[in-house]
């Protein structure tokens, strides 16, 4: 994806939240590495992963923090979304329970500056769907958040989801970022990153 002039590069911290085994890590891997592995490739131990999204005149570099493994330790989760520019709340369309959990996450994050996106994952398992698309969509509309149904397995909507978030992320916090500046604190973290652990 080439753009004419050298694009501005912006860094954003993004966090994934949701119940256990809704496919958070798979989504990240699918997005960060462009592949889905039935038995997931080693990436699970990394503190975060990085991936870039090219927009027309700018490049958004995500630093993606996955809370995988900590779902049961709910008291730890707020520490992740604090300072995150965006949060992807993931549920499994075959699990009603995971959708309810997603709703409580949305409620929890609603009053923060974090941009919220709701992802109904495992859309490849249409046959065992337990959460209707219309219901999830109308809920998301009602809450004023982005909703997409994704499949980490087929790749459906995964790039689209992160692309849409990149488009929607407030430009304001991107501005001073070109000089690798930080907007830590109430603005949410636009953190610059040097791939390190994530690029394994």
């Amino acid at each position: 994806m080439a753009s004419g002039t050298p694009p501005k590069v912006f860094h954003f911290k993004l966090v994934l939240l949701g119940d256990a085994s809704v496919g958070k890590s798979c989504l990240v891997v699918r997005f960060a590495k462009g592949e889905f592995y039935e038995y997931q490739e080693p990436t699970i131990g990394a503190a975060f992963m990085t991936q870039t999204v090219s927009l027309s005149s700018e490049v958004v570099k995500y630093e993606i923090w996955d809370t995988a493994g900590q779902e049961r330790y709910k008291s730890l989760a707020p520490m992740y979304y604090r300072g995150a520019a965006a949060a992807v709340i993931v549920f499994d369309i075959t699990s009603r329970e995971s959708f309810d959990a997603a709703k409580s996450w949305v409620a929890e994050l609603q009053n923060t500056d974090t941009l919220i996106a709701l992802a109904g994952n495992k859309s490849d398992l249409e046959a065992s769907r337990a959460v209707e698309r219309e219901m999830a969509k109308s809920y998301a509309d009602q809450m004023g958040i982005l909703y997409m149904e994704t499949s980490a397995k087929s790749g459906q909507n995964v790039n689209e989801l992160f692309h849409e978030i990149a488009v929607r992320l407030p430009k304001q916090s991107k501005e001073d970022d070109q000089s690798r500046g930080f907007a830590v604190g109430s603005q949410g973290g636009a953190a610059s990153s040097t791939g390190c652990a994530g690029s394994c």
Binding site: G45, R72, A191, C200
Partner: protein, 555 residues
């Protein structure tokens, strides 16, 4: 005939070790230890492949009859076919399509082991950045040592621990039996990961502190400089130890799933024969996962304990105990009524407390594991609450909306309190809130049949512990007040009600606890004049049992 046979994929040292291990076993006529491929099955020998590259997947078969051995070998052959393995050949896992050429021969479990080592190094690198760049710079501008303690916790200790752990990991990664060595390392090291709880406990406060201190210009400048240099934000670095322990669990789980199946998935007769004699990395991995999960749970619990302590302190801090109104706040005697080591905060919120049909008061309720604190907003000091009462919740019941006890309101619940099983009727603002409260109450109340004697009245609450007398006085006083306040046409009715109350109160002296109220619908309708409904609730709550008839009834 007893026979042990074994096939190893390891080096000579492993083969020697296996021979030493097996030879002394009682009754073994023969011990064959062979390396991959060089194994020649003898007459009654069974053999287990060293499948999937498990270098020390030792299997000892023992049998006393040729027929049995034949069964076993057949079973094994079937099992191996099922796994798509050729007997005697080391399994090569198909490499991921994108993989580096050098990785293509690596089975997945090896990659996972590698990742455990790599990510621990990366993690230690982040801690180094924190310790070498941020800590000295921030220490120069933050003067209060307690702030520094909150900010960085025992991160230095964690770094030291990581150094030791990395050395052990490297040794494990070099060993012939990587998977087993790593699992064994986690098994022996797991308790030390509790060191993380010290760090994790204060992390929430550390984040708040960072956000607050960033308002300070000199602090901000220092942090900005460090962040530019490190390419990582302070908050990101600070959170890394938080996620490290759960990551270990995930890594171990991935490792377990990637390891080839061992004896526990073989048919049962084989597993029985092998029982306990197989050094199974998968089982060791499973044990390590359990241990690390326990550690993660302990850490989380310690965070919760700290949050609970802070929360209780806050509630106590905002609770005013002196009662200006002079009503019976007898429980508010000690200035620290909440500090108990066992006390756990459960829920808080505003509920309407029913004192009568037209007498409902907004109350702030704090539910703990062992008591319910009811407070009202303190008129003078905002954000402060004045204690109304502190009771031990014994029972809780969902009041259906058409129940007489709800006095026409919806979303009500009934809470039986204290040793004398008095009851409070509380009204939530929505069905959802009510459900939350009910769930919270059900967590804390002891299970058993509902036993309620009477509802407390504000006037009588001071004497709730004594039966009969003070209650009666209170009711009479209230009745009189009502009589004086109501219009003349209501006088007679009110007087009658008062009389009934007195009678009932007398009766209640003789039975301290009434039988179970299982069906609120059984309660009799209230009379029209319910301004004195404290007593009338009393009359309705107390459903007469079959053998005990109420001496008087209001209707």
């Amino acid at each position: 005939m007893l026979l042990y046979e074994l096939e190893w994929g390891g080096g000579d040292d492993v083969v020697d070790f296996a021979a030493r291990l097996l030879r002394p076993r009682a009754g073994a006529d023969k011990c064959v230890v062979a390396r991959n491929g060089s194994f020649a099955p003898s007459q009654h020998a069974g053999r287990l492949q060293n499948s999937g590259g498990l270098q020390s997947h030792a299997a000892a078969l023992q049998t006393d009859s040729p027929a049995k051995m034949k069964d076993l070998t057949n079973t094994l052959a079937v099992h191996n076919r099922g796994l798509g393995r050729a007997p005697g050949k080391k399994q090569v896992t198909s490499a991921p399509p994108h993989g580096e050429p050098s990785d293509e021969q690596q089975p997945k479990w090896k990659l996972v082991c590698q990742e455990i080592g790599d990510t621990e190094k990366a993690f230690a690198g982040h801690l180094d950045t924190l310790l070498e760049s941020f800590v000295p710079a921030i220490s120069a501008v933050v003067t209060r040592p307690e702030d520094l303690r909150v900010l960085f916790g025992n991160v230095r200790q964690l770094r030291e621990f990581s150094v030791v752990f990395q050395a052990d990991l490297d040794a494990a990664l070099e060993s012939d039996d990587v998977a087993h060595a790593i699992a064994a390392l986690y098994n022996s090291t797991a308790p030390f990961f509790r060191l993380y709880s010290t760090y994790c406990q204060t992390h929430g406060e550390a984040q708040e502190l960072v956000v607050n201190m960033l308002a300070n210009k000199s602090f901000r400048t220092v942090v900005d400089d460090c962040e530019k240099e490190a390419g990582q934000s302070l908050l990101s670095l600070l959170i890394m130890p938080i996620q490290r322990v759960p990551r270990h669990v995930l890594l171990l789980r991935t490792l377990r799933d990637a390891l080839p199946n061992a004896s526990h998935t073989l048919p049962q007769q084989l597993a029985q024969l092998l029982g306990g004699k197989v050094a199974d990395p998968k089982a060791a991995c499973e044990a390590a996962i359990t241990k690390m999960q326990d550690v993660a749970a302990t850490i989380n619990e310690s965070i919760r304990e700290r949050e609970n302590a802070v929360k209780i302190w806050e509630i106590q801090h905002n609770l005013v105990l002196d009662s200006g109104s002079g009503s019976g706040d007898s429980s508010a005697t000690s200035p620290s009524i909440l500090f108990e080591t066992h006390r756990v905060f459960k829920m808080e919120g505003e509920l309407l407390m029913v004192y009568g049909r037209k007498h409902k008061k907004k109350r702030k309720c704090f539910l703990f594991n062992d008591c319910l604190v009811v407070a009202k907003s303190s008129g003078l000091k905002r954000k402060k609450w004045q204690l109304v009462e502190k009771v031990a919740a014994q029972q809780v019941q969902d009041l259906v909306d058409d129940s007489a006890l709800t006095l026409g309101t919806s979303n009500a619940l009934l809470v039986g309190c204290g040793e004398d099983h008095t009851a409070l009727v509380l009204i939530a603002d929505s069905a959802e809130t009510k459900a939350q409260w009910l769930a919270a109450f059900r967590q804390v109340v002891p299970q058993g049949p509902l036993r309620i004697a009477r509802t407390p009245s504000p006037a009588a609450s001071s004497g709730r512990k004594g039966h009969g007398g003070p209650l009666m006085q209170g009711l009479v006083a209230w009745g009189l007040a009502v009589c004086m306040c109501t219009a003349a046409w209501r006088f007679t009715a009110a007087l009658l009600v008062c009389l009934c109350m007195v009678l009932k109160a007398t009766a209640s002296r003789t039975r301290t606890v009434f039988p179970a109220l299982t069906d609120p619908g059984r309660a009799v309708d209230l009379s029209d004049d319910a301004s004195t409904c404290r007593a009338e609730i009393d009359g309705r709550v107390v459903a007469p049992s079959a053998e005990q008839k109420l001496p008087a009834s209001a209707s």
